[in-house]
């Protein structure tokens, strides 16, 4: 139990983006030994992601970095030097997995690719995450979250019909790519253990985004229909699913078809049960604004919790739209211990999101906070690889670590 689900794994993490960090965070949080390999001096770029503690930009107190790098170790290493190569090769000879996010071909360009590493570690799995992969017309394109959402099709059907398409509101494409990369890595490791041979796993953020909405292209191919922006409603469900304002915020429901009668009953308008506007989905869609207006007037006078409790009684599917603050104070999360407090040298104690899922025999564990840059140089280079303290001093002087 102390070792976690993947406590036997050694992972070298060269990633410099959220996707790679989340991939290896999932492994680290469930037991793997993950060693971040960062450039000496400034460290890797996700240390510079906002938000910072008290808005003071500083390499150790990026909140997002802190979250993404729990349970990991950090060493500094200049991979562009011969000594750096040598150390990396030594680490790679012991590792199960290397994760990098420059793109397929990067480790090869360093002279540390599969061909070079196979003799020292034939079972090694090398996972690459990039924006667009290594071939195709966009291979050299520059991307941010919004760019891959736009090209991947996630963004077009979001927002209001009379306004521009709307970005999703967070770096979700990165997380999705990281999730695919993590699954692919574990599958490749499983096969490597069986047959003695590793391989390369590749995920592109663009394709990960395009995969997460797998049926819009299928729908178009089947029927020629293109899903359009639904405004405050949910795509393809007409007025059956929507977000609506109420007295103290917003509620949200997903009650298609017959359940509209249920909603009208809840608000004391059972008299509308046989209204022709409810008779078919087409009628409902045509009269959506009016019908929502009737609901909306009732919502406006009531709080989200009142509305929600009433909906429960009527067996209707409702929720509300909580803010981060409300979620951090929610009984549900408090009682389940979802928010986890971690102490970090530079920030003191902070609350973090906890386990994304609960494993009965090999639970998630926050064993240590995100590492300081190079915090584990001794533990890794000296204790794991057998270098001496003088070796480390010399390497530091030459800027290798």
């Amino acid at each position: 139990m102390a070792r976690g689900a993947v406590g036997d794994l050694l992972v070298l993490d060269l990633s410099t983006r959220v996707a790679g960090a989340y991939c290896t965070k999932l492994l680290a949080d469930y037991g793997a030994r993950v060693i971040k390999i960062e450039p000496p001096g400034a460290g890797e770029s996700t240390r510079r992601l906002r938000p910072f503690l008290a808005d003071q930009p500083e390499g150790e107190t990026s909140g997002f970095f802190l979250y993404l790098n729990t349970n990991k170790e950090s060493v500094t290493l200049d991979l562009e030097t011969a000594s750096g190569h040598g150390l990396f090769r030594q680490l790679a000879s012991r590792a199960d997995l290397v994760v990098e996010t420059v793109g397929p071909g990067y480790v090869t360009s360093l002279g540390l690719g599969p061909t070079e590493l196979e003799p020292v570690n034939p079972r090694l799995v090398i996972t690459s995450i990039s924006d667009f992969g290594s071939n195709g017309p966009y291979a050299d394109y520059k991307a941010t979250d919004a760019v891959t959402f736009a090209l991947g099709g996630w963004m077009y059907p979001m927002g209001d019909p009379d306004k521009p398409p709307l970005q999703p509101g967070g770096p979700y494409g990165e997380f999705v790519a990281g999730l695919f990369a993590m699954s692919g890595s574990l599958a490749a490791i499983a096969l490597a253990r069986l047959c003695g041979q590793g391989q390369e796993v590749e995920v592109s953020v663009h394709e990960a985004v395009a995969s997460v909405l797998p049926f819009d292209t299928v729908l178009f191919s089947y029927t020629g229909e293109v899903i359009k922006r639904p405004g405050h409603r949910y795509r393809g469900r007409g007025p059956g699913a929507a977000v609506m304002p109420c007295k103290d915020g917003f509620v949200q429901y997903q009650n298609g078809g017959d359940k509209w009668r249920g909603m009208l009953q809840m608000i004391g308008r059972a008299d509308l049960a046989d209204d022709p506007r409810l008779s078919t989905p087409q009628e409902l869609l045509e009269h959506a604004d009016e019908l929502e207006g009737i609901l909306g007037a009732w919502f406006k006078d009531r709080s989200k919790h009142e509305i929600f409790q009433e909906a429960l009684k009527h067996r209707l599917i409702f929720s509300w739209v909580p803010s981060v603050k409300e979620l951090m104070e929610a009984d549900q999360h408090q009682l389940r211990g979802y928010w986890v407090e971690l102490e970090h040298q530079r920030t003191g104690a902070l609350r973090y999101p906890g386990p994304p899922f609960r494993m009965g025999q090999t639970p998630w564990a926050a064993r240590k906070p995100a590492p300081l840059l190079g915090e584990h140089n001794q533990v890794v280079y000296r204790d794991l690889l057998g270098l001496t303290d003088q070796d480390l001093v010399a390497l530091r002087e030459r800027g290798v670590i």
């Binding site: 503690l53 490749a188 797998p214 299928v218 089947y222 494993m359 009965g360």
Partner: protein, 406 residues
């Protein structure tokens, strides 16, 4: 060619999108996935009511998600159906389910019992809000978990209300589910030990807003809805292009990219304008910048505009509709779509296997199964039932190939 998970048998009794996606990722990686539905309750993802003859076999949502699985039916409300499921579970490795706990308990399928049948079974339950806590019994669907994971609060136009994700939040739970199953299988390969996994949709889902959570945790700040703006990049927005409903996303991360953008849109002088010299300046003055950029984009096709900006080294992306994604030159050059034939719908392209593996690439080996398509393979070939036993099951409506309401 040996596939990574080809010796793993997954029994998927889940419905909808999240559970079936978790199982499908394993299927894409080579596992043998058996999707178990019933003629009483086919997967509601096929469409709840018939919208025409055989509509449950012509649903793009179902067909897009359910590939790489065998399909069988078993009426689990019937003890004889459950008995067959238990026999199957004895020789299976993974069970994925998302029924309400009351139903699972009523059917005698709690993990404590199943592990006695099969000590190395990995079982995953996927309740919307978790198996414990005051929200435990709240109804959950993909849009409600979008809201309750805190995602909806962060999405919307400036000064406007929350907007829902086009993907709902189901696939986030599904992808975490696949990760969880692979972790459990790894542990099992080391120890022989199975386990129970509880995946609450909102706990998985809230991971993705960690950046916003940490800002509240550290600084007590709640993020406003920003539309298409960004808090650390400017200009950043979605600009109208020539034609009907064509748009371009532009994201400028640095002063270099800013100068390149200015040259590309024919306003090099802006690159030296002190109002826009730094990111902070540009964030402050973005209202002035947006019309300048749109003055350029609206004269161009969105792809042309994207190509021009990318050639100049500026991050830009055409906002593609599903029709355009299907025809996208990059996705097609990379063979992202696979053309697959399937009964009832014919031959169509489908998004392929996202995870690319150099020695054991994944493919769509099987289209989404028709209802009960592999009843014989599961019940006869795998569980050893005779022709007579199969006929009897069909008579009793424990198995079948057509929804009862058809």
């Amino acid at each position: 060619m040996v596939m990574p998970l080809e010796n793993i048998r997954v029994i998927d009794i889940s419905q909808g999108w999240a559970g079936p996606l978790a199982a499908r990722v394993l299927g894409d990686l080579g596992a043998q996935v058996f999707k178990i539905e019933s003629i009483q309750h086919p997967d509601w993802w096929r469409g709840r009511a018939p919208q025409g003859a055989t509509s449950w076999e012509r649903n793009a949502l179902f067909n897009g998600v359910a590939r790489n699985k065998f399909g069988a039916t078993l009426n689990l409300a019937d003890p004889r159906g459950r008995e067959l499921l238990l026999r199957f579970l004895k020789i299976a490795d993974v069970l994925v389910e998302n029924f309400t706990p009351r139903v699972i308990e009523g059917w005698g399928l709690r993990f404590e019992r199943l592990r006695q049948l099969n000590p190395s079974l990995v079982m995953m339950s996927m309740p919307g809000f978790g198996l414990t806590g005051p929200w435990r019994d709240y109804p959950a669907l993909g849009t409600t978990t979008d809201s309750m994971s805190g995602v909806a609060a962060l999405c919307g136009y400036e000064g406007g209300g929350p907007r829902l994700q086009s993907v709902s939040w189901d696939p986030i739970a599904g992808l975490h589910g696949a990760a969880a199953l692979l972790l459990a299988l790894h542990h099992r390969s080391q120890t022989g030990e199975g386990q129970f996994i509880e995946l609450s949709h909102i706990e998985a889902g809230t991971s993705l807003i960690a950046q916003a959570v940490m800002d509240y945790s550290m600084n007590r700040r709640i993020w406003p809805r920003r539309g298409n703006r960004d808090w650390s990049m400017a200009p950043h927005g979605c600009y109208r292009c020539k034609g009907d409903d064509k748009w371009l996303v532009v994201a400028v991360r640095s002063d270099e990219e800013w100068a390149a953008l200015c040259r590309a849109i024919g306003h090099p002088e802006l690159g030296a304008d002190p109002r826009f010299a730094t990111t902070t300046d540009r964030l402050t003055n973005q209202d002035v910048l947006d019309p300048l950029i749109q003055g350029w984009t609206e004269r161009l096709d969105h792809r042309e505009a994207m190509e021009a900006l990318q050639a100049a080294g500026v991050p830009a992306g055409a906002v593609l509709s599903a029709a355009e994604v299907l025809g996208d030159p990059h996705l097609n050059a990379r063979e992202f779509f696979e053309t697959v034939a399937r009964p009832f719908v014919g031959t169509h392209p489908y998004p392929g296997v996202t995870i690319r593996m150099s020695r054991t690439p994944g493919h769509i080996r099987m289209p989404a199964p028709t209802l009960g398509q592999h009843n014989r393979f599961v019940l006869q070939d795998t569980l050893g039932l005779s022709d007579d036993e199969l006929s009897r099951l069909e008579e009793l409506q424990i198995i079948g190939t057509q929804p009862l309401w058809a």
